[in-house]
Amino acid sequence: MKKQKPRVAFFDFASCEGCQLQIANLEEAVIDVTKLVDIVSFREVMKEHSDDYDIAVVEGSIMRPMDEERLKKIRENAKILVALGACACTGCVQRMVNQWPVEESITTVYNKDEALKDNPYFANFETKALDEVVPVDAYVPGCPIDRDEFCKVLVALLLGKKSPVPDYPVCVECKKKENVCLFELGKVCMGPVARAGCGAICPTHGAECEACRGYVTHPEEDAQTDVLTKYGISAEQIMQRKSMFTYRYIEEKAKQEVEE
């Protein structure tokens, strides 16, 4: 009897869908992926849909009760749930919206409109990452994800091995590339605390690391602040950078302080 391949389903919530797009961007290697697994649901590229799957790969943040319910159903159906990309892992840039009361943001974008009243489509709450709603088994970080890293995570899951996503900072990869340190150029780089795995792609192209992949497990935030201060970078500039892709950590810190 032919052995059944693991069944994989892709889902998305609030996001730009750029991380799912990276699957198409695997080009010819997509054909290899389809040899390893059966893709049974992928709304962005296929009409067929099945609720019978082993691995759910989920992109996007959770912003409404209706989305929360859908994610819980996906969690019930899946043996393994993978958070795909920064929106799913941390909340990405759209988490910055949590700086304001939800009603204010809705009014800013849509004005005060009767169409919005008691309308579930517009019933936003604060932006959440997937693991703030359901347990997550594996993470593919980044905005966008690195498509080769996605394949490595998938293969590790299929073989039952531990996650290949590194837990050291971007500086390590940046040094290997022999880039000039961006602090020397007066830039606010997140390299010292940001999770590596991207090959320090932004600094290599002359742009600051924005920590789109989130922080390492134990970020040396105080040491980073000291270094930045030494280079004459203001607290305001540092907060601008930290509140862009990594607002989740600011929220979590504030919560911890309240609890203490």
């Binding site: 962005e44 590229v45 912003m63 932004c202 601008q240």
Partner: protein, 430 residues
Amino acid sequence: MSEIAIKVDHLTRVEGHGNIILNAKNGAIEKVQWQVTEAPRMFESFVRGRHYHQVSHVMSRICGICSIGHALCSLKATEAAMSVTISEQTELLRKVALHAENMQSHILHVGYLVAPDLFRKGSVFPLIETHPDAVLKIIALHRLANEMSDLLCGRTTHPITLMVGGFTSTPSERELSSLRDRLSNILPVCDEVNQLLLDNVHMLPDFTRETEYIGLTSDTEYALYDGVIGSTDTGTHPVEDYESIANEYVVPYSTAKFASHARESYMVGALARFNLNAEKLTSGARAWAQKFGLSPISYNPFMNNVAQLIEYYHSVEDSIALIDTILNKGLKNETPSYAVKAGRGVGAVEVPRGILFHDYTYNDKGFCTRANCVIPTNQNHKNINLDLEALAPTLLGLAEKEIELNLEMLVRAYDPCISCSTHYLTVEFT
């Protein structure tokens, strides 16, 4: 006659979430509607307080498919607000980057999302088995487009190198020259893929409905990166008047706003650009338009798919010409110089799905205080709804599956980008 109730919940093979609903009783349509259910993402709210340096990086995240276009439109708006001028080299390189994205998005849409309809399949995956050569050719076109983005922007999605006034790093002359050769070598593959669509073009429904077409237009070129607003109904308008062109409004069944101008609705995208600017296409692209029998003004929205492949050809040929110009002038190391100042600026760029506007206000420290974005798909939503209303009655004699397929194909022809527009689709037959 029986009741027909179709509900396509979360339409597939489009970017984002939208529904199509059709109710018919005794051969008469009671309701047909295109709904957008994507979560509101509220970029215009949370970009407030961002420093101008970060704004294009934040705003590119509106869309994974057209992130280069969003970044460029954002930069143009910021540059307009602060009176920043860019060098000729920067403009030429930005145009090549925009072509790369147009190529990537168009071939993804026609090759991966529309082609399965023509072969009555649910996705491109079965075509890998049945039409391997065609799929590999489509992948070759997709790969080249992405490699162009990698080279110009540092990455395929969410550009790294594009910044206010210029680039953080540029490709070398050798890399540009090698890209030029690969573009030149891909033209025969473009011919083969275009021929494949031409052989199957009879599968696209023959449906027309008169409407207004809006897009950038220019006296000097097939407008993509720059130009003034052009309308097939009202002529040209300055970009700064965009609000009186789009006239956005909110409807209860959509988290994406709707838009209207001279008529109840208008269309943007590849077909709109073709209808406005066809005579400015490169010679190879014009020759393909002739083979497809496409000439302005075409009122068949399904021809948007054809216009996209014609534009792919144009983007390849025009990129070759742009790279030649850059190389002839010699690549220079440039550092942008400008002063941060308070002000308001509007940028407009043609992205794959149509005309895009970004509008920002900055304070004197360079922090964004107000933002407004008008997205191509929003501008198409009302036109999609009116097309559905016109197309649906002609389908009622067909089997429910065929009705559903035709409605889906119509929405898909617009290549809607729903994440962008909520900043939208499911077919509901209820």
